[in-house]
């Protein structure tokens, strides 16, 4: 998805990996050249005469008691594994080597054409060396069964010549093979001690130390891959398998060397050998478990599935074969032979993947994988080839390169994942904050619209109120003003105008934010009408309870309550002919109750202005209150009930 972009991001890490590999390869080549040049300064003995003679007499002796007849002996090239060449030859053989003369060293005083040192590069399994019929070196007694010598080369010092014979020296070598092993004699070199020592040391380096180094590197990369796997909390498929492959490979390669003599109990040796052999196959299996889901599945999912299914039985097959009565080497060869189709299938899948996702790193990956397979094949061939007996195994070098690149691949993949994750996170976060901002804006708009709507509603209500109340009253006053003072007293106009002012005051007061408590609203009304009530000869009884929070009104209720009370009072003043007016405010369980009672002539009948009555009922309905007008015996009682959820009177709390 972001392949091209992450390509450029990965440039630096990819280059590091490739540079490291390049330097590694250069170092390897240089070192190899060095050892080759050493070899040139030593003289190799190319051929030897071969006899497969075995007799009880010939064993166990320091001196060759029975002379051997070499006239009809075959000539073989060294290195030689007689078991491959001549399977029926038996387990004890003799080699006769004519050691060439070493060119004289002009830097030295004396001319010594006779070689002084011999290096036998590899032998299996036990060897005795004779010069002039005498034993000059033995690895150990030739017992039954034959003991195995370690894989290290043998450096022999030749004894000084008997007599002053300048002819070529003859070296007789007796080799005995241990049971289950194919005996053989490796390359033989003659030369100065220093040169041969150098050859030995470089051989040791390549066979032993290099293997340790590569094993260490592979183990370290395996540890790193394991840590990477743990970082992904076990979600990365195949990483554990790859780490296991690395550990198996590191351990197995170390076992390959076996240059030091065997120490420890026999069973441990046996177990070590078994595990090392299993390691070869299990390495391939673990590699497959990593490659199939990660690098084959994206391109060819079915092939990846088949490979994964085939791997597990393959893994089990190895120990079964190795523990069978079959010879170890044969069993191993069979098992690894079965691995080849698996390896090729993985190679094919990998190739298709690289074809579909071309990049420098991927090509390098495929190349190293193919190198790994080829080196595996090469090593197998070396193992079984008579002509390459004693040659170095190359597999672990291929392994190192492969693991280095794989680790770098995984690290950069992980880095990409992290980077993508972080980018995704940032995107999500920015999107989230955008949405939040949008939401906040939307919300503000909404509340603004709500406020506007409420305001419009309020304005509408006020306009309606003014129109109904003040409008009609001013009109009345205007009409009254046209009536000359002779017809009606000017006090009437004054009264009407006073009503207008009161009406306006009432409307404005209802908008006051503090005009919210019923008791206060009624009290303020009382103050205003007190004088007119008094002048009408009416006594006002004030019975307002401390209703607390239940008395709180909303603005629409304030106006409605005031108008209803005003209208009722006007009725009492003008029509009821009452002497006492009492107003009470109570909190009941059904709500807030306002009662206005007069002791006049009873409830309004149709003779009263139905308009006023209609208005009162309408206003009560508008605010959802319940208005009842009934007879009070004597007089009229008006009840206005404003529903409230809780009507228990509380002490005044602010």
């Amino acid at each position: 998805m972001s392949e091209p972009h992450s390509e450029t991001d990965r440039t630096s890490t990819r280059n590091i990996g490739l540079w490291l590999l390049f330097l590694f390869a250069v170092a390897a080549v240089l070192a190899f050249q060095g050892s080759e040049s050493l070899k040139r300064r030593a003289l190799a003995v190319p051929t030897a005469a071969f006899q497969a003679i075995d007799s009880a007499e010939l064993r166990q002796h320091d001196v060759i008691a029975v002379p051997l007849d070499w006239s009809s002996a075959a000539t073989v090239t060294l290195p030689d594994v007689w078991g491959y060449r001549n399977p029926g030859a038996g387990s004890q053989v003799w080699y006769r080597l004519e050691l060439p003369t070493v060119p004289s060293d002009p830097t030295k005083d004396r001319i010594s054409p006779r070689p002084t040192w011999v290096l036998i590069d590899r032998v299996r399994s036990m060897v005795h060396a004779y010069v002039d019929g005498r034993l000059i070196w033995e690895g150990g007694p030739i017992t039954d069964p034959v003991q195995r010598l370690p894989n290290s080369p043998i450096l022999l010092a030749l004894p000084p010549p008997v007599g002053h014979d300048d002819s070529a020296t003859t070296l007789l070598v007796r080799v005995a093979a241990a049971p289950g092993e194919r005996g053989g004699l490796g390359r033989v070199y003659v030369g100065e001690h220093a040169v041969l020592r150098g050859l030995l040391d470089s051989g040791r380096f390549w066979h032993v130390e290099a293997v340790y180094i590569t094993s260490a590197i592979i183990t370290v990369t395996a540890i790193y891959i394991l840590m990477l796997w743990r970082q992904t909390r076990g979600n990365a498929t195949g990483y554990l398998a790859l780490a296991s492959a690395g550990f198996i490979w590191g351990l197995r390669n170390v076992n390959l060397t076996r240059w030091s003599p065997a120490t420890g109990p026999q069973w441990l040796e046996w177990l070590g050998g078994l595990l090392a052999s299993c390691g070869s196959g299990w390495f391939i299996a673990c590699l497959g478990l990593f490659l199939a889901p990660n690098y084959v599945a994206p391109a060819m999912p079915r092939l990846a599935r088949y490979i994964t299914w085939a791997i597990w039985p393959f893994m089990l097959l190895g120990p079964i074969l190795l523990l069978s009565p079959m010879a170890r080497a044969e069993a191993l060869a069979l098992w690894l032979g079965l691995a080849l189709p698996l390896l090729l299938a993985m190679a094919f899948g990998l190739a298709v993947f690289v074809w579909r996702n071309p990049s420098g790193t991927h090509f390098a990956f495929l190349a190293l994988y193919l190198l790994l397979i080829s080196l595996n094949v090469y090593d197998n061939a070396t193992l079984r080839s008579p002509t390459r007996f004693g040659d170095m195994y190359l597999n672990h070098f291929g392994g190192v390169a492969f693991f280095i690149l794989t680790t770098q691949l995984l690290v950069s993949r992980y880095g990409d994942l992290l980077r993508d994750f972080r980018r995704l996170n940032a995107t999500l976060e920015s999107r989230l904050s955008d949405r939040e901002r949008e939401l906040a804006i939307r919300h503000r708009e909404l509340s603004r619209l709500e406020a506007d709507r409420a305001q419009l509603e309020e304005r509408g209500r006020i306009m309606r109120d003014l129109h109904d109340g003040l409008g009609s009253q001013l009109t009345l006053a205007l009409l009254q003003s046209r009536v000359p003072a002779t017809v009606e007293p000017a006090a009437k106009l004054e009264g009407l105008l006073q009503d207008c002012l009161d009406e306006l005051r009432l409307a404005i007061y209802s908008l006051e934010p503090t005009a919210s408590h019923a008791a206060t609203v009624l009290g303020t009304w009382r103050q205003r009408v007190a004088s007119s009530i008094e002048s009408a000869g009416l006594k006002l009884v004030w019975a307002v309870d401390d209703v607390g929070e239940a008395g709180l009104l909303v603005q629409s209720e304030v106006l409605a309550v005031l108008r209803i009370v005003q209208e009722a009072t006007n009725n009492a003043l003008r029509h009821a002919r009452a002497s006492t007016l009492s107003l009470s405010l109570k909190a009941t369980d059904r709500g807030l109750l306002i009662e206005l009672t007069d002791d006049g002539c009873g409830p309004p009948v149709s003779t009263l202005s139905g308009h006023g009555l209609q208005n009162m009922h309408r206003r009560a309905d508008d605010i959802g209150a319940c208005l009842t007008i009934e007879a009070a015996h004597p007089g009229t009682r008006l009840r206005l009930l404003l529903p409230r959820p809780v009507a228990a009177p509380n002490p005044e709390a602010t």
Binding site: E512, H517, T520
Partner: protein, 228 residues
């Protein structure tokens, strides 16, 4: 001794009407009339009156500021504010600044005269709305006494209002509560079984506590601002 009355009102029609009404009262004398803030300052420099009536909507200044200055310099015995609607927030601020009550414009002549007389007599008119306003700003202390908290419109005081003058007694609180419920002074006196004068005294005390409290605050405010 006639009661001298000074009128600060920028609408000359109102002023004229009022002066005409007062002229007919034998024991009232109009000490002067000013139509703007500046004129009022000049007038108050010359004249000390018994009752000062101030319109809050002056064109070139704040009526409340005028009240404060008049109080500070003792240019009037009682101060009333003129208001058309008796909008409580303004009135309360006026009272905090030193006014003793308010007058509704458009009150009948008789009511006007009696209000002026009452103001001169030292009565402090209180309305249920003002009482409710005051109650809503009361804060209960741990000792069970009640304090007047700092007003919402002024900047916060430098000193906390733990001044003894800021605390209402529980009896004063009850009186305030009953006023807020709409009872008149007579009814409150009957309910509490005291005389009307006692109630009037309570109300006066409440007001003076409000003014003292505000005066303390005004002084601290002035000190803070560097005027004193």
């Amino acid at each position: 001794m006639p009661i001298s009355i000074a009128i600060i009102e920028d609408d000359f029609r109102f002023a004229g009407l009022m002066i005409r009404s007062l002229a007919g009262v034998p024991d009232f004398v109009v000490a002067g009339h000013a139509g703007s803030y500046q004129q009022a300052l000049a007038l108050l420099d010359i004249v000390r009156c018994d009752v000062l009536v101030v319109d809050l909507g002056l064109p070139d200044g704040d009526g409340i500021d005028l009240i404060r200055q008049a109080r500070a310099n003792d240019r009037a015995g009682s101060i009333l504010v003129f208001t058309v609607f008796g909008a409580e927030e303004k009135v309360l601020r006026a009272i905090e600044s030193g006014a003793d009550g308010y007058l509704l414009k458009g009150t009948s002549e008789t009511d006007l005269i009696s209000a002026l007389r009452q103001a001169h007599a030292g009565e402090s008119p209180i309305s249920p709305a003002i009482a409710r306003h005051l109650l809503s700003r009361i804060r209960q202390t741990d000792a069970g006494r009640v304090d007047l908290s700092s007003p919402p419109v002024q900047p916060p005081p430098v000193t906390e209002s733990t001044h003894p003058a800021d605390q209402l007694t529980s009896r004063e609180h009850t009186v305030l509560q009953l006023v807020a419920q709409g009872f008149i002074v007579d009814e409150i006196a009957t309910q509490l079984a005291v005389s009307v004068n006692t109630i009037r005294t309570h109300i006066r005390n409440i007001y003076s506590k409000l003014q003292v409290g505000r005066r303390v605050q005004a002084i601290s405010e002035a000190q803070r601002r560097g005027y004193l």
